[in-house]
């Protein structure tokens, strides 16, 4: 029965081909450093899942943001767990993505024909840091408020257009309800959507080009 259902689906969806292309592709003999990309992907999915869960109770408004998080932490079953995973997962993701970049750099995996994979990876790293930056404001506590004040002020030191950048980031002169709302929007819609799309491109090239092997002594 199961076999028949599977065959029916496979005939229409090409499941076996997908499996063979994505997971059964030939890879050189590599080491544990080559698992960092998969780890990054896993963390992205985990952050996505826990993040969606947090939006069930979180309210991106100055008069309720802090209280809604207090409610998540103390009022809802396992709220501390969901938020804890999202909180620690974000730091871990930055770390893992960074190590993934270091591995690619030191093993020379960015060279021909994988330059474009590297370029998408650079954007993915920047976006990951952007997720950390925008997510940091959302708890709307003293640390979040002042960290974002400082960071947007740093952006304001850019010559000539600094003030403009600062005001675009804050949505006005001051850090306000407008800032919180746009950071929330960027954190849950813009960046995740762009990251997901770029991961698609990144993985397409990994599958298409294969992965590089560990460099030999004479490389």
């Amino acid at each position: 029965m199961f076999q028949k259902t599977f065959t029916w689906l496979d005939e229409r969806l090409g499941l076996k081909t997908i499996y063979a292309t994505v997971l059964d592709r030939k890879v050189p003999k590599v080491n544990w450093w080559f698992t960092l990309g998969s780890a990054s992907l896993f963390l992205f999915l985990l952050q996505g899942f826990t993040g969606i869960m947090l939006t069930v109770y979180y309210v991106p408004s100055p008069d309720h943001a802090y209280d809604s998080i207090q409610y998540i932490m103390t009022g809802v079953s396992y709220g501390w767990l969901i938020r804890g995973i999202h909180h620690w997962g974000s730091s871990l993701m930055v770390l893992i993505v960074f190590f993934h970049m270091l591995r690619t750099y030191f093993f020379g995996a960015y060279k021909y024909p994988r330059e474009f994979t590297w370029v998408t990876g650079v954007f993915l790293l920047i976006l990951t840091l952007g997720m950390g930056f925008t997510g940091y404001l959302l708890p709307w506590n003293q640390r979040a408020y002042w960290a974002t004040t400082v960071a947007t002020s740093i952006a304001g030191t850019v010559p000539f257009i600094g003030n403009f950048i600062n005001e675009v980031l804050r949505g006005g002169m001051d850090l306000s309800a407008v800032t919180l709302a746009r950071f929330f929007s960027v954190h849950i819609w813009w960046f995740p959507a762009i990251i997901a799309a770029l991961i698609g491109v990144h993985l397409y090239m990994v599958i298409r080009l294969g992965i590089s092997s560990v460099p030999k002594e004479d490389d």
């Binding site: 869960m53 069930v56 079953s77």
Partner: protein, 161 residues
């Protein structure tokens, strides 16, 4: 390659991946169910005796509306709900306290002396002076509040909703 009696490396990795994945999925997934349904499970005991003033202030034989507010914490916000109770003093000294919430779809009923009935403005539900159904779409008589009188003051038993 001849088939080895031992498990192949590939099989082993597959089983370990499935096992670790299931454990992690369960560790995150099962608490998530609790997380999502938690607000519907927490029932705070909120019953209270609401003071409704001296019994003498309510006329005999005519339902009189008494309003009171209750503050409730819903998640991260305090909500003040207003409740209306029609209090009827009977000639024999008994007191009937009826909720003004229509049992049809929760609109508020009004006492109309000329009609001798509680009338719901939404769908024309008519209730008799004792809260029983006269006519209309309502499934039940009006809800009744328990009352008590202490030192000539009336109290209404609010049950939390």
């Amino acid at each position: 390659m001849p088939k080895s009696p031992q498990m192949s490396r590939r099989e082993f990795v597959g089983i370990v991946t499935a096992a670790v994945g299931s454990v992690m999925g369960a560790l995150v997934g099962i608490p998530t169910i609790g997380y999502l349904i938690a607000p519907s499970l927490s029932k705070e005991a909120a019953d209270a005796w609401i003071p409704a003033g001296p019994v003498e202030s309510y006329p005999v034989g005519v339902p009189t509306l008494f309003n009171f507010n209750r503050t409730k914490v819903n998640g991260w916000e305090k909500t003040v709900n207003s409740y209306g109770v029609y209090i009827l003093r009977n000639e024999d000294g008994t007191i009937l306290a009826l909720s003004n919430i229509c049992t049809h779809l929760s609109c508020r009923v009004n006492w109309k002396t000329e009609e001798n009935a509680y009338i719901c403005p939404c769908h024309d539900a008519y209730f008799a002076i004792d809260g029983q159904i006269v006519s209309g779409p309502q499934p039940r008589p009006l809800n009744e509040y328990e009352t008590k009188v202490e030192e000539d003051s009336l109290f209404i038993h609010y049950l939390g909703s």
